[in-house]
Structures are given as C-alpha cells and as structure tokens.
Subunit: 106 residues, 2 copies
Amino acid sequence: MSEPDRVFKALSDPVRIKILQFLRKPEGVCCAQAGVVCACDIESLLGLSQATVSHHMKLLVDAGLVRAQKHSRWMIYQLDAEAFSDAMAWLAPFARAPKVKQKVPA
Amino acid sequence: MSEPDRVFKALSDPVRIKILQFLRKPEGVCCAQAGVVCACDIESLLGLSQATVSHHMKLLVDAGLVRAQKHSRWMIYQLDAEAFSDAMAWLAPFARAPKVKQKVPA
DNA sequence: GATCTAATTCGACAATTATCTAATTAGATA
DNA sequence: TATCTAATTAGATAATTGTCGAATTAGATC
C-alpha cells in the first residue's frame, strides 16, 4: 500500500462503509448473487442518485478496494480482498506498539 | 469499533499518517523516549503551527488511535495499539472475501 | 504577582468533498 | 434507426476539513 491515506480515505465515509458491507453480504436484491452486485442495486439500497453512487464507486475502485467489470449494460462490482489484506498489514505494526505505562520523568 | 468510518477518517490524512509513524518511531527529537512524544516535537517535525497540530491530535485521540496525558506543561502522546487491532479486526472479513472469477450470466 | 512556555480555542479562509439535476455515452432491443 | 436503460460526466451548491494567526488557558519559574 503505497499511500495508506488514500485507501483509508475511501473507507472514511459512512455511505461507502455501507456499500462495502453490502458488497460483502448482498441481500434481497434482483441481480445480486455470489458477491456480485450492480450499481443499480446500490442505488435502491441507499436511496442515492445514480451520479452519487457512481462517484462513490469510483473512489472505492481507485483505492483498489473494489473491482469493477462492465457486463453488458451493467457494471458489476466485487470486493478486492487483497486491498483489505494490505490495509491490515499496514496497520499491524501499530497494533504491536508497546504499552508505555511509565510516567514521564520531570 | 462502533463507527468504522470515524477511525478510518482519522487515518485518511497524510499529515496524520506521518504523525502516527513518528509516534511509532520517534527519532532525533529532544524529549522523545520510549514512544513518548510531545506536541512540540510534532510541530518541529512537520513545520505546522501549534493550532494545526492540536487539531490533528484531537482527531487522533477522539478516534482512539492515540492516548494523551498531560504532564506538567507538555502533552504526552502515545499510540493505542488496541484501536489499531480493532481496525484490523473490522477489515478481516473483507480480506477473506471469496474471489469470484465467474462472469455474470446474461 | 509577573513572566515565560506549551497547548487549546476562536474566527477566518481556502480547498476538498458529497450531493443533486441535467446532459451525455454505451449497450441492448424493438 | 429509434428507443430504452445503466452508468458516467459536467456543472452547481452546501457542508466539511485543513490551515493559519490571534487570543486564551494552564502550569512552571523568577
């Protein structure tokens, strides 16, 4: 992950968090199957305009968190697990930071 | 992690990424020792104003990524490893997303 | 108490971002 | 070809965010 802030920025919006959770577990939509979802599903899920969904999806794709594939009229989206692994790997050293209990000397 | 986007928002700025990396490995500063750093160290590291550093530190502390402790005139900052672990745990299910190779049927 | 220093708060401003509507592009089908 | 649909692009606007200088607060020392 060359620019961690870009990936985390993509994760920093509640709408995009909802989109990712939906991509992971799409439920009760027309064409969703096996983690495969089109933009129109997300529109109806979130009640946002086409343009807004397109904007968020572009951010997620640019950050590498989602892969997009045009299929006929539809854009098919799926999670890219590797990008999430990379983000975890970036965080790992911080999760191992030693607990400094000592008060600082005067 | 109740609101993932808040933690990721704190991670979504290059200045704050630098601050976190510095907190993890403070180098060549006056009072830095054993992962213990004051705001003035960060000011001189990044060449930002007191007010701007204070703003960023508040965000990091509010997100739980950094703990702050006032000691005499100085504010002492250290990483909170647990918050990073929590973020990793949140990402983990996405990192296990199955690779869907199949093309979508027409 | 006066003064010095570290940090926060306040108020302003520029840049970025999320959202919308309208227009456009791309693909499928009548 | 005309038309319908899914998605993107363009342009506008409101909200958020990053930054600064100035003023304020809190703690230490003269």
